[in-house]
Amino acid sequence: LSPFTEDNADPQVLARLLHKQWSLYSVTPLYGFRGARLKDYGRLLGAFVAAEKQKGLAVEIGVELDIKVAVSSFPELRGSDRDEAAVLVQLSRSAASQRSSEEKVIWSGWFCCVSGDDLSKNVPEDFTCLPLFLANGAEGYTAIVGSWFQKTFDCCFHRLAISPLNLSWMAAMWTAHRVDQSVSALELVFSVPRLPYPLDISYAIHPEDAKALWDTIQKTPGEITQEEVDVFMDCLYSHFHRHFKIHLSATKLVKVSSAVASAHCDGVIKFLRSQYTTGVLMLLTELAISWVQ
């Protein structure tokens, strides 16, 4: 399938994504979104957030501090020039100390599109394609920001679930591109539904050994095929079966983690290394687009 692109994105930008837990959403194209009006959007969204808080839909009870909203553009975060520049929305609150008027970011949301040609080429002029949305912070704020965008740009947000198939793909991808000498295991977490007592199975493989296995499977360096991913997973499942006589294929793969990143089927991701972040965003963009279409 798709060759693995080298990471050309600005490491400083990518650093903002690291070590935070992001909830994933797919977003339909935004109608009437203008890159030149970001400052206005910030003001309008800020007013909306304040109004929602007064209504009593405040996220944090008893906190009276003002919330500032900043909307900014990041052209460095995209797959190619055909993609829209990423848009970052940040909610911050001034820290309540006499010493400094420091601003603490309490919520962030990224709209982005990494190699989303499949969607953008089919969409009429007035629409902006930013199908992947990552949110970090209180769910209440995600809901408020989401509803403002939905009202203002006539779009829809959907929680993005990551299927076991996609998780397997990520497992293979992260194994194939061993980042450094780290000994973070490749961990697969399975859940067995419909039992009288629920069972979770964590299967953590030494990264060197996972890579050695992958190397016997991969045919073309730099390329990963679905067939290779299937063989990789089958091998891991067979090894497990040899010892425990349990069919992992009959269970649900719910989480995959490695030194590069971790992903959960409920649509939660955490980036741990800036290398390959763009690659993961590309995969997630593809996933988001398949939900939108």
Binding site: V192, L195, I201, Y203, T216, C235, S238, H247
Partner: protein, 347 residues
């Protein structure tokens, strides 16, 4: 009464579910019946605990007495802690008669000779269990009543159950004090850990219902359609009935008939060969290192239900069924050389 003691009593009472406070205070026995009658157990726990502290003030309760209340709480709610199992052994000599007084004296002396700042409390229970509570200090600070370890020792057995929580560095000292006091020579930690203290006891004292072929064949004789309820309409035939019965039978032979001891997890560190790759030669000689961890609110029952659910094969893997018999839930598995390539060695 010391402020520290007052606060400690207050916090201990707060932990107790409101409906249990009266019973526990009665078990404790440091407040008189008259004093207990003055307590209003229908108010908030915060208020109840304050009132209890007041009464303790009247009695000038000290830390040793407060510690007893803590033991009682932990004895009734042991599952809030994680327990490890240790086995003591001795070379040669016969077993001497166990004397409780000597045990307590020797234990305290041994511990205090190395660390003066400790609070040591004992309480004996009917099943020959001795509960020991130790609050740890340092050479320079008084014992911290919130940094405690618990030991449960059944004097007629070589087993000790320890819940260390923080300050694991004190563990060797604790172990030495135990073997000195109980007249053993060695102590080793078993690879067995759980929240459920009673289940750990069930496993090491072999109190769980082990496999009984007699039971199984008897039950089959009474009802031909066992384990399914007799079917009223003979035109209804259960698909794969024979197969399902076979699975049930093999499962029960492997896991036993009765309720399983309650464990929360099992961990296997595997260093076996990888035999399922497409190009065997590359990986053939090297160990494929991985760690597998199973977790469940009731692990053994969960594993037992896998084969009937179609997720595992019958008969089940011995790596799973051996947990209670081997009295361990942490394993290191290596490849067994020569004869049976499919069997594993667990050191």
């Amino acid at each position: 009464m010391d402020e520290i003691v007052a606060e400690y009593i207050r916090r201990t009472v707060l932990k107790i579910p409101r409906d249990e406070i009266k019973t526990m205070l009665q078990k404790w026995g440091f407040l008189s019946e008259a004093q207990l009658r003055t307590l209003n157990f229908h108010q908030t726990k915060e208020n109840i605990s304050q009132d209890v502290v007041q009464l303790c003030e009247e009695n000038s309760t000290d830390i040793k007495q407060a510690a007893v209340l803590d033991i009682i709480y932990n004895n009734i709610y042991p599952n809030k802690r994680v327990w490890s199992v240790y086995q003591m052994s001795k070379t040669g000599e016969e077993m001497e008669c166990f004397d409780l007084t000597t045990f307590k004296k020797t234990f305290k002396r041994h511990l205090r000779s190395a660390l003066k700042n400790v609070t040591i409390s004992f309480r004996e229970y009917e099943d020959n269990a001795i509960w020991i509570r130790i609050a740890w200090g340092t050479p320079y600070t008084k014992p911290n009543q919130y940094k405690t370890s618990y030991v449960v020792y059944h004097s007629q057995t070589p087993y000790v159950f320890i819940s260390v929580s923080v300050l694991k560095s004190n563990l060797p000292l604790l172990c030495q004090a135990l073997i000195a006091a109980s007249n053993y020579h060695h102590i080793r930690e078993m690879e067995l850990r759980s929240h459920s203290l009673n289940s750990l006891k069930d496993i090491v004292f072999k109190r769980y219902s082990q496999v009984s072929h007699f039971t199984i064949s008897c039950l089959s004789a009474f009802s031909p359609s066992f384990p399914f309820p007799p079917v009223a309409d003979l035109r209804i035939v259960k698909e794969n009935k024979k197969e399902k019965e076979r699975i049930q039978r093999l499962n029960r032979e492997a896991f036993g008939d009765g309720p399983q001891p309650k464990l929360e997890f099992a961990q296997y560190k595997l260093e076996t060969l990888f035999k399922n790759g497409p190009k065997m030669d590359a990986l053939d000689k090297k160990a494929f290192r991985c760690v597998v961890k199973f977790s469940s609110p009731h692990l053994l029952e969960s594993l037992k239900s896998l084969a009937p659910a179609g997720v595992a094969e019958s008969p089940p893997s011995q790596l799973l069924t051996c947990i209670p018999q081997k009295a361990r839930n942490y394993f290191k598995i290596r490849e067994k050389k020569d004869v049976f390539p499919e069997s594993f060695v667990s050191p």
